[in-house]
Symmetry: C2
Subunit: 220 residues, 2 copies
């Protein structure tokens, strides 16, 4: 339901930084292949480093532990989408409803990109389901995603309180979509529906009383 997104292009970077990124990417790809072949517990950091043709020290320069590399792709995608969005000339959201709406395209683009290769997406979740600690780390990463979304809103001039709640609600829409999307290809659509359900509820009131959200908050 979303149009195709343009490739995410990293800004021009010096050679040394490009080399760093290539090494990092090799580690991610090597880990992907090894986890698929041998399972998470059947692969050591040394295995990954060897296949990526880097030293163990280099691995740990990029990733705190073996679990981190599992989430690198999605984390990087969100960071790049948020960075691209923070370049856009968008005015500060004045209400929670506006702030949530500003996060909608970010979350939908993330959903579209993480499921662009549905099989890889499915493998990712199978890996998480196979391992309790990975499942927990995934939950932590989702919380950290809320931090990235909040920072984008704050960058646009949103107040901290509004940004915090809007980011958590945007993540709630993402989490809902993840649980409803049996087929990964439906993830963007499910996320859009979740935002729609909140938006349908909030929009007419938000239009007529923009700005009242925070002022009224304590008066119930």
């Amino acid at each position: 339901m979303e149009g195709p997104y343009a490739p995410l292009v990293a800004p021009d970077v010096p050679l040394v930084e490009r080399k760093r990124r290539q090494a990092r990417q090799r580690i991610i790809d090597a880990a992907d292949e090894l986890f698929l072949a041998n399972g998470f517990d059947g692969v050591s950091v040394s295995d990954i480093a060897e296949r990526a043709e880097v030293g163990r020290m280099t691995f740990f320069r990029y990733f705190g532990d073996k679990q981190e590399v599992v989430f690198a792709k999605q984390e990087e995608l969100l960071a790049m989408i948020a960075a691209a969005q923070s370049e856009a000339a968008v005015s500060a959201p004045r209400t929670v409803a506006e702030a949530i709406e500003q996060l909608r395209p970010v979350v939908l683009e993330l959903c579209a990109r993480v499921t662009a290769d549905p099989e890889s997406f499915t493998r990712h979740y199978e890996l998480l389901a196979s391992h309790r600690e990975l499942h927990a780390r995934d939950a932590l990463k989702t919380q950290q995603a809320a931090g990235t979304l909040r920072a984008l809103l704050v960058h646009r001039g949103c107040t901290e309180d509004v940004a915090l709640l809007a980011a958590e609600v945007a993540v709630a829409c993402y989490q809902t979509a993840r649980q409803l999307a049996g087929d990964p290809r439906t993830l963007p659509e499910k996320a859009a529906t979740a935002f729609d359900q909140l938006h349908t509820l909030t929009s007419s009131n938000a239009r007529t009383s923009a700005g009242s959200a925070r002022g009224d908050a304590g008066n119930r």
Copy 2:
């Protein structure tokens, strides 16, 4: 800002079950004391079992691992609050807004109860902050709390889709409050404000178009 809550009383249970609960509680208390004295990594399951005067086998009958015991109190509180609420004669919420409002008192009661002993609450978060795996497990427990809230709504006859989104949004309010409540005693108030901010936005529209939320969802 919330009135005092009545003590949560477990229903009458047979002796063998009471003994089980007492053993479980002794394990939780022993772990609490030992983590406070020696830190999470300085305490083994054997240490906890010994102090609680149970065997290691008994520990693992109640808790999957050492991390689980850290979250037992909050998990149990939520389960008891949700159980008490599921006894109440409340009709099925028809919209996401109604469903979120039905979860408000559950989340606020949880906030009030977990902070009833502010020092213990602060110690809990200090323990989480000290340990990355605990931090991740906490994130997982928060996701599981959404499952408990969703089940309560479904029990009341709410549709799965609405229950799922409402539960995730209720957790978003809780997460927002946790991050804003520098002083634990303000947690219930911060959570109420988060619900208010969404409610202020949603209420007037929800009143005039109850039931439209799902029907309109796909039409933007």
